[in-house]
């Protein structure tokens, strides 16, 4: 199956700082890919490279099979994008924004957009700068989707939204995705959203992809165990991602713990708990947090 989005060993720096280091992943049709990472890890940079706003210093990114460095206009027309902060022209009215999309984006379905906005109870006469953040986010989403894009790219679509707004936005997105088999690549900080939406996650750390796997695989391969070591120190074990000190022992985050290593761990512990399945937020913290990480 063709990859609609593809990064192949992409490197990028800003000044002296390397923001992306050999980024490689792909998104297939109908797949929802969540790109995660702490602030400044390169999520937005990756999306900007994908959309051709930035160039890569090495490697190649492709969108709908075309190199992102020189995206044909026709390919741009097949992609929907919601930028960080849902940037729109504030002085426009909602209806003017729809007309602007219609005039500048061939294939944009203005009537579908208008219907969707009516469903969301967005006043067509309202100026965008007078809309709430949530309404702006919804408008941006509708404008991005009404062109029937094959690929949707969202840069932190829920940023700055409260729980209710985020939930509404998510509902809108799920409704839209349910109707089409659009490939979605989005970056976010809200990990609960990811669990509801994403088929696959990529976690960036220091500009490199630490994880590129389906969510269920990730949860299956990483487990948590609480242990009280015999000698008081956390065990030196291959696959130990993090050892967090607890009262009288450690909480260990372990990758691909096989029977042999489990036996070693058990031998070095006075007490070892049963495996705990972490949620995504815990996994994310274990994979990306600093000082206590044993990795």
């Amino acid at each position: 199956m063709t990859n609609l989005v593809e990064f192949r060993d992409v490197w990028r720096h800003f000044g002296e700082r390397e923001v992306l280091r050999g980024l490689s992943f792909a998104v297939r049709p109908g797949e929802v890919y969540a790109l995660l990472g702490r602030n400044g890890e390169g999520k937005t940079t990756a999306l900007r490279i994908l959309l051709g706003f930035l160039g890569a210093h090495a490697g190649e990114a492709r969108l709908l099979g075309e190199p992102c460095e020189a995206l044909p206009l026709a390919v741009r027309g097949r992609v929907g994008y919601v930028s960080e902060g849902h940037r729109l022209y504030g002085e426009m009215r909602v209806s003017e924004a729809v007309r602007f999309e219609r005039d500048t984006r061939p294939g944009f379905d203005a009537s579908a957009a208008t219907q969707e906005l009516a469903r969301l109870a967005l006043d067509p006469a309202a100026r965008i700068l007078n809309l709430s953040r949530g309404q702006r986010a919804q408008l941006a989403l509708v404008l991005a989707c009404a062109g029937a894009p094959e690929v949707l790219v969202f840069d932190d679509p829920a940023m700055g939204l409260d729980v209710v707004m985020r939930r509404e936005l998510l509902e809108s997105l799920i409704a839209l995705l349910a109707e089409r088999g659009t490939a979605v690549l989005f970056s976010t900080h809200i990990l609960h959203d990811v669990e509801r939406l994403a088929d696959r996650v990529g976690i960036l750390k220091d500009g490199a992809l630490l994880v590129d796997a389906p969510l269920d695989v990730l949860k299956r391969r990483i487990q948590k165990r609480q242990c009280v070591p015999v000698n008081g120190a956390p065990p030196a074990l291959e696959g130990l991602l993090r050892a967090r000190r607890l009262d009288g022992g450690y909480e260990l985050t372990l990758l691909d713990l096989d029977p042999a290593r489990e036996a070693t761990l058990r031998a070095g512990s006075r007490h070892l708990s049963d495996p705990l399945t972490p949620d995504l937020e815990e996994l994310f913290l274990d994979l990306t947090s600093g000082p206590e990480s044993a990795r």
């Binding site: 959309l51 027309g77 500048t104 992809l209």
Partner: protein
């Protein structure tokens, strides 16, 4: 026009509307405040320059705003993600703004004309010259908008944008300065419009590239703009050098001794002495003779330097007047009727020195220029119309010309000065007529005393046209001749000469080569009041050896740049182009170079192998 283009223009309608309304209002107010008649009937250069300045200021701000608009509102990605060439969006904004910038002065002028017609301005507003001036102003405003828009929308660092703005505006000013001191005339307007259009085209081309400070501008993109940059930098460098050289030359000129004509008929050369108000008479070699003269006459400050034309002012009437060996007076010499003294003008001195002046534009622009600042209200100012008709400015109400009759039906014959080689009209104070000399006093014609009117003048000839050390021959009315060398005989003069020499060394190489080949002496004789901006008087005037250091400097710079660029990793083709640019424009291209070929853009990428993913799961094969 495509729907997308229209939508892109409509998107900016609020900014465009505000700019247009402000610009038209400001233009209209300026014309009203400055005086319609002064501006368009009498063609006061200063006043329509004021209009240009006001309109251009607004256009500059509008250009910057529209150029930065997407960036400031952080909507550039929202715009760029749609299937439109980025250049189209920039062109839509630029073209709309530039069109309104062009229209605004015309609309303001039309409103002023309407106001003039409705409020009884005498119908002078329909004069065609008004539109020529307005088109010239509009062209200038168009180009200013285009320059600021191109700079603001340039996808580069803030430094690169500032450099671009500075150079494009400087090039526009140079264009104006080169065409005429008066920015008028259709050819000039067309030239400036073409320049503005070029900048809009450049803005469009530049917008096709994504904003990225960490990657060098592609060689294909850099190609033509680099030639433009080199050309603009060369022109700018030459103008800058000419400015410095002119200052040094003027200072050198001012340091020379005074030449005077005493009441007892002697031609003397003087220098300052410590005692205020006195001049020491020196001999030809500059040695004191022990004689001192009172210096109780107004000194004539130089207002404009001309490198080689050394011209003496006419003698005063009754008393001896010490005169500078002025070539700097821009022919601003006129007979002031009262007391029949010749007085030179200096608009910067603050003193009222009457000169209804009659200097033409540098290319012989025929319009009256600068007469506002010269006391045009003087009742002794007349215009000689073709066919010996005599006219006078009337200030009873809006200024206008009215016919004047000479006593006894005499016809005017001659005047003191004329203002423009292509203009038939002449302007003067006291008149030679078919019935002798007449002066106009308190509404009546009176006979001037012949000794006050027909004054002798000193003759002057440059025997050796040397930009630093000319040899001048001055002759008085009684056959008295004084040959005066002007040696570099003081530290100050040597320093100034060195300054001029340095300017010649810094002159961009192609123009330096051209300068070395031109006949300075012939040019100096033919156009004594001209200071050539693009050709160097030193290199053409006997100091061609300065070409050596000039070549060394340019080649050295190019070599150093090539070496540094090789170190940064620029490919040979790109290096060769920069070397060529440095050879053409010299150090003046350095600002462009610093803005475009940054260390940051050429930083080596990829510090090591890509880290392997900790958790990576291959996809299941699907059909």
């Amino acid at each position: 026009m495509s729907p997308a283009f229209v939508a892109l223009v409509k998107k900016e309608r609020l900014s465009l509307l505000v700019f247009f309304v402000l610009s038209v209002s400001a233009g209209w107010i300026t014309i009203t405040v400055e005086g319609f008649e002064w501006m368009f009937v009498l063609g006061s250069y200063d006043r329509f320059e004021e209009l240009t300045l006001v309109q251009s200021g607004l256009a500059l701000l509008a250009g910057i705003w529209l150029g930065l608009r997407e960036e400031v509102t952080r909507t550039q990605e929202f715009l760029r993600q749609r299937p439109l060439a980025p250049g189209v969006s920039v062109l839509a904004r630029g073209l709309a703004g530039a069109s309104l910038a062009f229209l605004a002065p015309l609309v303001a002028g039309a409103l002023a004309i309407g106001q003039d017609l409705l409020l009884g301005g005498g119908g002078v507003g329909v004069r065609a010259e008004c539109w020529t001036i307005l088109v010239a102003v509009a062209a200038s405003v168009f180009a200013t908008f285009s320059a600021s828009f191109a700079a603001a929308s340039f996808p580069g660092s803030p430094l690169a944008r500032m450099v671009l703005l500075f150079f494009t505006l400087a090039a526009q000013l140079a264009l104006q300065s080169w065409a005429s001191s008066v920015c008028s005339g259709l050819p000039w307007a067309l030239l400036v419009l073409a320049y503005g259009a070029l900048l809009l085209g450049a803005a469009r081309a530049a917008a096709e590239r994504a904003l990225d400070l960490d990657r060098p501008v592609g060689l294909r993109v850099l190609g033509l703009p680099l030639a433009f940059m080199a050309f603009v930098s060369m022109a700018f460098g030459s103008l800058a050098v000419a400015g410095w050289e002119k200052l040094a030359s003027q200072a050198l000129f001012e340091s020379r001794p005074w030449i005077g004509w005493t009441s007892d008929g002697r031609l003397v050369r003087c220098s300052w002495v410590g005692k205020p108000g006195s001049l020491a008479v020196v001999d030809v070699a500059g040695k004191p003779t022990g004689e001192e003269l009172d210096d109780d006459q107004p000194r004539l400050p130089p207002v404009r330097y001309t490198l080689h034309g050394i011209e003496l002012l006419p003698l005063p009437a009754a008393r001896s007047l010490w005169l500078r060996n002025e070539g700097v007076v821009e022919r601003r010499i006129v007979l002031e009727a009262e007391g029949a003294r010749w007085v030179a003008s200096d608009s910067s001195s603050g003193t009222r020195q009457v000169v209804p002046l009659l200097s033409a534009g540098e290319l012989g622009d025929p319009r009256l220029v600068k007469h506002f600042e010269t006391g045009m209200e003087d009742e002794h100012t007349f215009l000689f119309a073709p066919g010996a008709e005599l006219l006078k400015f009337s200030y009873d109400g809006p200024p206008r010309l009215e016919r004047v009759e000479l006593p006894g039906g005499a016809r005017p014959l001659d005047t003191t000065r004329f203002f423009g080689s292509t203009q038939e009209w002449k302007l003067g104070g006291a008149l030679d007529t078919t019935d002798g000399a007449w002066m106009y006093r308190d509404g009546a014609w009176v006979r001037p005393a012949p000794e006050l009117y027909h004054q002798p003048r000193l003759g002057s000839e440059i025997l050796v046209h040397d930009p630093l050390r000319p040899l001048q021959r001055v002759s008085g009315p009684n056959g008295v001749v004084l040959d005066i060398p002007h040696p570099l005989d003081s530290a100050r003069r040597k320093l100034l000469a060195g300054w001029m020499g340095l300017s010649a060394v810094l002159r961009p190489l192609p123009l330096a080569l051209l300068s070395a080949g031109f006949d300075y002496e012939r040019t100096a004789k033919e156009r004594p009041d001209e200071f050539l901006l693009l050709l160097d008087p030193m290199l053409g005037g006997g100091y061609a050896w300065l070409l050596g250091p000039n070549v060394l400097l340019h080649v050295g710079l190019a070599w150093a740049v090539s070496r540094e660029f090789a170190r940064r990793g620029l490919d040979p083709t790109r290096r060769r182009r920069w070397v060529l640019a440095y050879l053409v424009a010299g150090m003046w291209i350095a600002a462009w170079c610093a803005a475009l070929e940054t260390r940051r853009a050429w930083r080596k990428s990829r510090s090591g192998p890509a880290p392997a993913a900790l958790v990576s799961a291959a996809r299941r094969a699907t059909a």
